[in-house]
Amino acid sequence: MKLKDYLTPTLVYRTALGVSFVLVVSVALVFHIQMNSLNNSVGLISDSNKKQFELEKLISSITLKENSLRNYIITKDTTYLKSDSLVEQNIYKSLSEIKDLVQKTADPSDIAGLENLIKQRFQLFEDTFKISNSENVDMNLLKSKLMESSQVTAAIRKQIYTIRDKEVSALKIHNINHRYDVETSTITAFSLTIIVLVVLLFSLNKVNYDFRKLKKLNKELNFANQISDNAEKVAGISHWKINMVTGKYFFSDNFYRIFGLEPHAFEEKVENFIAFIHPEDVGECVKAHEESLKSKTPTSLTYRIVRHDGEIRYINSIGDFTHNSNGELVKIGVSYDITEQQNSKFILEEKNKNLIAINAELESFNQIVSHDLQEPLRKIQMFISRLEGGEIDNVSETGKDYFSKIKMSANRMQNLMMDLVDYSRTIKENKVFGIIDLKTILDNVLQELAINIEETNAKVIVGKLPEVNAIPFQIQQLFVNLLANSLKYTKEGISPIIKVNARKITSEEIINDTIITENKYHKIVVSDNGIGFKQEFSEKIFALFKRLETEASYTGTGLGLAICKKVVENHNGFIKAKGVPNKGATFTIYLPK
């Protein structure tokens, strides 16, 4: 969802920050306005109060002046007139005060009316004073003036009361407003505090969360580094970095340990490291290193190092170029101790040499068997045949029998030796595989056994056979041995019939934990109608020198099937035997494709 992609944590937090900032500022602004309003209302109230006070003062001043004038008129005592000017001043002061205050609020016409009345009253004060001060006090005029004065005073008082009443009602409104202002500003102040607190709490929480996360990541990183270091220690691996921009070298902890030192035992300079390289290898190593740094190509080197205690270790070092998180070109690599592997390699090479020597000796042994042992045997046989050619007629029946037994033993020995030679050929080292047509092989086999086939009047039926990847002479040996057996172990009086066929592997068979399938193996079956064998011996018959029929009429060395098994094993195949006593034997060969 695209929206979700936009709503990254950074964006969310930034928006929240912006919103809360705007909120706080606007609330603060509102608060400020409210404060102003509050100030205003307070001012208004105090003004109003002041006005009322001045009005009262005005009245009392006028009354005072009236009183003092009256007292003077009555007593003619001038002391009452002393404070006259002061009172007059006060009255005018109050009036001006009221006038000032008026400018902010109510009806200026009221004040103008009041002023007139006051002026009138003052005129009357003067008139009254003049009249009372004259030689002949005109009582009627005085009375009328006094009457007028009190009327004006009453009017003044009335006016003042009107103004005052107006003020009182205005004051009521001001009070209501003021209370409202107080309430709203309290609410605003309160909400501002709450908002600020909430924002503060959130930010603190976020900071705390981020800090904890960072701490956790840091811990994990430290832990990972520790694991890596341990892994290096266990595996004998180390890593290093060369920063191509700063020219700085970095060696991991295990790098030093490979040199048999504690971590950071020497300064991370290339000279310190080169000092450890074996004198015979150092030239090549340095050259390869410098070339790699120049051409920015990867390296893979094997060299020896000499530790402080003289021990020589084999090191394999692989490095390549890349860029680090700052975009700088660095060469990073791994160096590991392959001393164990090298030693194993040397031991293996030694063993190999030994094996080759042993093989050579076996080869010469083979030579001895095939030549030097057969020689005297052949002589024995030759002389026996010479005897049989003529001399034997001079010997008694027992003698003839003995000779015949000597001959058989000699023949047996020869067969044994030839089979041994065949067997040793199957385990020889140089096995050359090739694609061979089994049909051709079988033709050769039939040719080799031609005499036997003729003598036993045998019938060999060879079906269609595939091409296989095999060692020709060994495969031929295999079939020679199998067919020779079939020709040998025949039922008395019955001509052997031998069938050689290739079969399809229809169902999966499992031999020695390997699954045999049609697409992986050839299946060839050699079956005969001979004396067969008991199935319980089906494995035994492949053993070296093992024979089932020890009757003299069946000549055998016990090597034939052992050789077959060896040949099949050389080809990574399998051979299985199935026998039914007195019915025949079937040998199944599996060869990998």
Binding site: L377, Q381, S385
Partner: protein, 151 residues
């Protein structure tokens, strides 16, 4: 139809084993083929005789491989490198049946490879075959150098 030459066959045998020489001789005798058989005890004697001037060269030379002084292989190489002896059929007559020996002698120019049989009658049979074979070549003019037959 093989027309037999009435002149006797010159056969030579080089074998260090006395018994084998005797067997050979007896077999040839019993075959009743007219032949002049010359036997040698080792390769050196053989080569000395062959290289001597005025020697009558054999038609067939039976050569044993394992001989002291000079082995059959060395003699074979020497003979085949000398054009004077190119008419001689060389039959290797050895106890060994190793492929290595057969191959080597074939490459070095032997015509026939015979494994020494262990039966006297077999020996007679083999010799008869070899002699008859050689007659065919003698008459039909096939190149002896390129023919190889293993018994």
């Amino acid at each position: 139809m093989i027309s037999k030459d009435q002149s006797p066959l010159n056969i030579m045998l080089a074998d260090d084993d006395e018994d084998d020489r005797n067997f050979f001789n007896d077999a040839m005798k019993e075959l009743k083929i007219k032949n002049n058989l010359t036997v040698f005890k080792d390769g050196k004697d053989l080569m000395d005789y062959l290289n001597a001037p005025d020697t009558v060269l054999p038609h067939i030379l039976f050569l044993d491989l394992n001989m002291p002084c000079k082995t059959g292989n060395e003699c074979l190489k020497e003979i085949r490198s000398n054009p004077k002896f190119k008419e001689i059929s060389i039959a290797i007559y050895s106890t060994s049946s190793s492929e290595k020996d057969i191959e080597e002698t074939f490459i070095d120019g032997a015509n026939i490879y015979i494994k020494k049989p262990n039966d006297f009658s077999k020996l007679k049979k083999v010799l008869k075959e070899v002699v008859n074979l050689n007659w065919q070549f003698h008459t039909s003019g096939l190149n002896k150098d390129t023919f190889f037959f293993s018994i």
